[in-house]
């Protein structure tokens, strides 16, 4: 990772910007049930342990190139990305296929309610984080 960041640094002009964007595994993703077109939080889903480890390694790589004086942070922020499913089976199928998220939703509603909602629309709000890093020095 650090090697790739060093290469990104090399091909950037001084003052140029590196954009690092990733799903934000530090935050849980809210699961929503849609009623009359309005989404309402009904649970959460976590990032898998493996992905959290990968993300921490990426964080360390970014921290290292900042420490090396190659980049400085210009702006860091995030946004939410809503993925919508036509029913609960669709949501579960998505989680089963996901390499980043765990398969089980932590529901805040009981099983009977969920069964009643079987054919309703659901969504996951995935947090996304990004940072704009400015190249400040040529690499010695």
């Amino acid at each position: 990772m650090v090697h790739a960041l060093h290469e990104a640094h090399r091909v950037l002009r001084t003052g140029g910007l590196l954009i690092d964007a990733r799903p934000d595994s530090r935050r849980v993703a809210p699961v929503e049930h849609h009623e009359r077109g309005r989404p309402r939080p009904v649970g959460t889903v976590n990032t898998s342990a493996e992905s959290r480890v990968d993300d921490r390694l990426s964080d360390r790589a970014i921290a290292r190139v900042k420490r090396e004086g190659l980049f400085r942070s210009r702006r860091a922020s995030g946004f939410l990305h809503r993925v919508t499913f036509p029913d609960r089976a669709g949501l579960q199928s998505f989680l089963d296929d996901s390499v980043r998220l765990v398969r089980r939703v932590r529901w805040s509603v009981d099983a009977a309610t969920r069964r009643r909602w079987e054919r309703d629309t659901f969504s996951v709000q995935r947090p996304v984080r990004y940072e704009l890093l400015e190249k400040i020095t040529p690499r010695g």
């Binding site: 990104a8 690092d20 922020s77 946004f79 919508t84 669709g90």
Partner: protein, 125 residues
């Protein structure tokens, strides 16, 4: 780090049923925000206009092609030749003459020092 409210920047991607009866996002759009959403969050036209942009780990080029409408030149790089083939087809379809796509690893970029104004690492690190 501050998270924007869903109302300010949020995208909703539809998920379609495949022939196997499973629900999958439409291309990569379902698991990734729409390019317009992502690029707008970073700075949109203000950030990319007239710039030379490198998208590392470009995949099918969705983000690179999104930036191509503002940038002077966009280069997408990915180690997967089939992804680059798809990106080139996308560029041709869109008529994006300022976009080119290259097969290669992020650890050994086939470009000169200081060649780019903006480098994108989106879902890549």
């Amino acid at each position: 780090m501050e998270l924007c409210s869903p109302a300010s920047v949020s995208s909703t991607d539809k998920v379609v049923r495949t022939s196997l009866g499973r629900y999958l996002p439409t291309a990569s759009a379902g698991v990734r925000p729409a390019p317009a959403t992502e690029l707008a969050a970073y700075g949109g036209a203000r950030l990319f206009r007239g710039r030379r942009v490198l998208d590392i780990g470009t995949g099918d080029g969705r983000l690179a092609l999104g930036a191509a409408r503002w940038a002077r030149e966009v280069v997408g790089l990915d180690p997967d030749p089939s992804a680059i083939k798809a990106a080139r087809a996308g560029a041709k379809r869109m008529g994006a003459r300022n976009a080119r796509f290259v097969v290669g690893p992020a650890q050994e970029l086939p470009f000169r020092d200081g060649e780019f104004d903006v480098v994108i690492l989106s879902w890549t690190l």
